[in-house]
Amino acid sequence: MALVKRIIGLAVGGALLLLPIISLPAPAAQDKCYECHSTLGDAPSKAFLVDVHRSKGISCAGCHGGNSATDDMDSAMSARAGFLGVPKGDDISARCASCHADESKMRSFGSSLPTNQYANLKASVHGAPAVSGKGSIAQCITCHHAHGILHVKDPRSPVNHANVVALCASCHSNAALIRQYNPSLPIDQLEKYKTSVHGMRYAKGDTKVAVCVSCHGTHDIFSSKDVRSKVYPTNIPGTCKTCHADADYMKAYGIPTDQYEKYAASVHGIALLQKNDVSAPACNGCHGNHGATPPGVESISAVCGTCHALNADLFSKSPHKRAFDALGVPECEICHGNHGIAPPTDAMLGVDSAAVCSQCHAPDDSSRGFATARAMRKLMDSVSVTEQRAGLLIGEAEQRGMEVSEAKFQLRDARQFRLQARTAVHAFNEQQFSDVAHKSLAVSEAVEGEARAALDEFVFRRTGLGVSTLIITVLAVALFLTIRRIEKKPPGTS
């Protein structure tokens, strides 16, 4: 009994001891190369120990060529046996691609990996020629390393989520290196990333946050100015959306996932995504890209103001700035929204239920805000209505064939002042608003006057014709009667 226990204990202990060895990848049936080189203790063979290729039964010869069945150096590493030595430049990636781009070969190893990496890499920005002249900027091994290649999910892999940021930064934060390729390309992405929400969570070990490859792609990386790039302005919302619109993925974070939906229907979204206007902001326009963080409550106006400078300027000088900051109210957002910004309408102004001013201002408020809002809306309506009326009258006159092109031209000014008045609203000052609005009214009224004059002229012409016709008829009748009278008498008498 004690002997059985000892044997079992030995067996278990031995098994435990052997576990590391057993857990090692199964070596190739015949990998004499590795056997010899590992005794040399060189770095590649040390690394190759954990390599995923080794576990699949691929020998050194699988990449380097030659005969892995013999340990005779000369015959193993002979050119006749197909030995390639250490591939250089583009040959490296070509070597990897000889299997990894071959669908059937990959299946034969039981792999479900994609096979387009090599093609993508060649077409990508990293596939451009290196300044050394020896092959492309990046080969497969640049990121995946040569001998200790691990699955991307393996936490030791350089392309694993936890390590990939440092990997990209190893080149992209190197000013001297990047300068050789694109002197104006920034190298502060990592620094910025560290300040971002993504970066801060990443530092805490979050495995779901965005890292470099989440947005830029892996093998198919293009310059942000290239329309094929995932970070080309029109593509950015779609890229951010892959995580931020996925409710399940974002469940743990407690933030909304409707931003894309709202944005796509917004004035910015329509401009960018439907009209291809790349001056419209994508997500990064307001949130930043590498330093992506929603703007703070007090800085919203400044952020919107990078494009909407006039409105931001007026707002900053208005009483709302101090009031909003004190109340912690998000500046532009509280009236215009953040993601789902709709084209502003006159209905937003005023004191009725549809207006945004009524969100805060009540009839009895001491700030005169209610009165100001009401007055501005009234004036705005008057401006719109007058301009519209002038336009209609001009159209009517035109339709009647009257020449009113000069008045029509003037109407542009009315519209211009009206648009400027809409901007002036953001000063939240009745006098300032009124000054601009009245300019528009003045022009509209003048144009209306001219249109009415043209219509009056139209009527005048027809009336005049009627009167002339009447006179001519009378005269004609008189002439006719005179002729008749003359011809009653003997003709020839005058």
Partner: protein
């Protein structure tokens, strides 16, 4: 009023001796017959010409004949000058009615053989006035310097250019250069307001003088009868009053046209733009334009267009010289051949004008 009139008349009579003239005019008669109505057309044409002169002079006060300003000056007349729209539209409508009336007048004279002796010079001056009228129309059409006019002038001045030997110099003379430019406008303006009116006045003077001197042409079949009272009407005052009545109605028609069918201005001419589709000359040139389109590009050894132009030239020359080759009428016998020729010409012109309009 009456005494004032009498006094004025007496004053002039003392100095100029109007008695003979008045007696002579009192004896002027208009024969009354089936074709009586046609006698009005000469007067209507004259009236329309007078309208053209008056409205033309008024337009001259505001029109600017430079390629930079012409279009705008007409816009100005149409929109800023009081009754400018009226004057301009009347001028444009009256131009077309003038040509129509002149052509009717000519054909009626043709059918009634009014050109026969002693009225050959009357016929000739009339034909010259018709050609001048067409010249008025062609030159005046360019003056607004709008898109249609520019291209119509381009095409129109191209055509005489095909005449062998003299064609190119004639074209360059008309255009004021190899192309239609502001120089063409200046030139056409000069023709329109000075050269043509001057020539026209001379021919008109001769024409009217002759008509007064020789009296109205009496149709051949009535020639040998002594016209009694039922078959003749005194020119003064009976026919004249009727003339005036008709002129009054024509004036009213012009006013109605001006108000309800104001003349278009279109787009300003752009020398660098391509011609809009369907460019064609004014209706009175359409029949020639359409005919030229049908002539094949090569007829025997000749360029089709050249042949067309020369044939038209020949046709107009023969038509103008008809008093001299219509032997039968000169002899005093009926010439049905001329009637057929005239009918054929009329049909041809009408049909081809319609074709030119529709196609």
């Amino acid at each position: 009023m009456n005494t004032l009139w009498k006094k004025t008349y007496a004053w002039i009579d003392e100095r100029v001796d109007l008695r003979q003239l008045v007696d002579f005019m009192g004896k002027k008669y208009v024969p009354v017959h089936r074709g009586f109505l046609w006698y009005y057309f000469g007067g209507v044409t004259l009236f329309l010409f007078i309208i053209q002169v008056i409205t033309g002079i008024l337009l001259l006060l505001y029109y600017k004949a430079s390629d930079q300003l012409a279009f705008e000056s007409i816009q100005f007349i149409m929109s800023k000058v009081q009754f400018g729209w009226l004057i301009r539209s009347i001028h444009s409508w009256s131009a077309n009615l003038f040509i129509l009336s002149a052509v009717i007048h000519m054909f009626s004279v043709m059918f009634e053989r009014g050109y026969r002796a002693p009225r050959e010079i009357t016929w000739l001056t009339g034909m010259f006035m018709l050609f001048l009228g067409l010249g008025f129309g062609f030159s005046g059409y360019l003056l607004p310097w709008n898109e249609l006019a520019y291209f119509a002038t381009k095409v129109g001045t191209e055509i005489p250019g095909v005449i062998p030997i003299i064609g190119k110099p004639v074209m360059e003379f008309l255009r004021g250069g190899p192309d239609v430019t502001g120089a063409t406008l200046s030139r056409f303006f000069g023709f329109h307001v000075a050269v043509f009116p001057g020539l026209f006045t001379v021919f008109l003077g001769i024409h009217l003088l002759l008509v007064q001197r020789q009296g109205m042409s009496i149709p051949e079949h009535l020639e040998h009868e002594k016209l009694d009272e039922s078959k003749r009407m005194p020119f003064f005052p009976n026919f004249l009053l009727r003339d005036l009545l008709l002129w009054l109605i024509v004036l009213n028609v012009l006013a109605i046209l001006a108000v309800f069918f104001p003349w278009d201005l279109g787009k300003k001419a752009d020398l660098f733009a391509s011609a809009p589709a369907g460019i064609h000359p004014e209706w009175y040139f359409l029949f020639m334009f359409q005919t030229l389109k049908y002539i094949p590009s090569k007829v025997f050894f000749m360029d089709g267009e050249v042949l067309g132009v020369l044939l038209f030239g020949l046709a107009f020359a023969l038509w103008t010289l008809i008093p001299f080759w219509d032997r039968r009428t000169a002899r005093g016998s009926a010439s049905r051949r001329v009637t057929y020729i005239a009918l054929l010409a009329l049909m041809y012109i009408i049909v081809f004008t319609i074709l030119g309009w529709l196609l």
